[in-house]
Symmetry: C2
Subunit: 216 residues, 2 copies
């Protein structure tokens, strides 16, 4: 019974996600679904992207949180179009929320849209938003065992970022094990190691991201 209902929810979501996908394609919008645990650096990475690419391409942001508008306020101060979605307890964004938000904000043609999901390494991976790319962020203090425990998220990723590499000296992080765990699940997603704090690796990641938006 629960499984059947779950399937219905996902079917309904998939229909709306397909509509979003068509909407984005028609307007040459590259939509990026940004997913991670709480506090992995989703907003910090979006801010680095705005800093690095904001002058050469149009950027919009949809912020997803259970409560608060802390992240949207930060983005808004930079003059970037942003909408905050509060899920009010919900553990993930869904395609319907994105459709409503996208219609409300009128995303510019040819722009890149970052959709920051609720901080959750489990549920968001099951809900297609109609995005072009799933960006999954892990961070050094979370530990190297995350790909072994949160498999569906790392399987679904189109690109993986390992953030907070500046904390490596203070943490027992087995990088080889982390990479091995990802490779067992996902051989196609590139992995970038960066530190939003020091800026290490950000340039390489931005160069890759620029290429993706050009080929879309």
């Amino acid at each position: 019974m629960e499984i059947r209902v779950m399937k219905n929810i996902l079917d309904a979501n998939d229909r709306l996600a397909a509509e979003n996908r068509a909407y984005f394609a028609k307007r040459k919008i590259t939509a990026v679904n940004v997913m991670a645990s709480p506090g992995s650096g989703k907003t910090s990475i979006i801010l680095k992207i705005i800093e690095g690419l904001g002058k050469e391409m149009a950027i919009s942001v949809i912020e997803g949180d259970i409560a608060s508008s802390i992240d949207a306020d930060t983005i808004d101060k930079l003059g970037i179009p942003v909408v905050q979605i509060n899920t009010g307890g919900g553990c993930h964004l869904d395609a319907n929320m994105i459709q409503t938000a996208a219609n409300a904000m009128k995303i510019m043609e040819g722009s890149i849209l970052f959709i920051e999901n609720v901080g959750n390494l489990v549920c968001p991976s099951a809900f297609d938003l109609g995005e072009n790319m799933k960006m999954v962020i892990a961070s050094v203090p979370e530990g190297h065992d995350k790909p072994y425990k949160y498999t569906s998220m790392f399987e679904a990723a189109d690109v993986i970022i390992l953030n907070k590499t500046d904390l490596m000296p203070y943490i027992d992080f087995d990088k080889e094990s982390f990479f091995k765990g990802i490779k067992a699940l996902n051989s196609r997603a590139p992995i970038f190691e960066i530190s939003c704090r020091t800026g290490d690796g950000v340039k390489e990641f931005l160069a890759w991201l620029r290429e993706q938006t050009q080929t879309n």
Copy 2:
């Protein structure tokens, strides 16, 4: 429609949670539901408790993960009775899983049972397992804004631990804001600041925990 089904699921869960609660009470078991984001240090804190209190009280552990038995293997090596629950995609433990696991492992009378939930700062807070105490762990690298964004988890907590305080010098963590955010939601839960890595604050936390099990 979805809301009604969700209510049914929660009703069913609550009935089983009540059975678990009676089961624990009858056997003078103190059950602790340990909840946190991925990589906040749930297992590390359980290991510190085993190290500090394992000689004076019987301890059992139920490990919840989507996949893998990494944490259960670690606990098992210490000779502590442990069962691993793999939710196979599920984003939280529920009362039924705990009932099955508790029956399988025959938890000793008068013992303390740690139930390590799936790493998720959202969904587990909605599911009563029949526990006596909800222990919520935050960690310094996750940032001080977590109580503002993940309100239900911090509201539900009976005790809150701020872990990884050794990383404070390397992170912009506003402790005042963190405490203020919690106090706005929850005035009854004590907050302990600890570092599993250096051992800072662990003694004070264990002294408090010892008291809780004695009065139960």
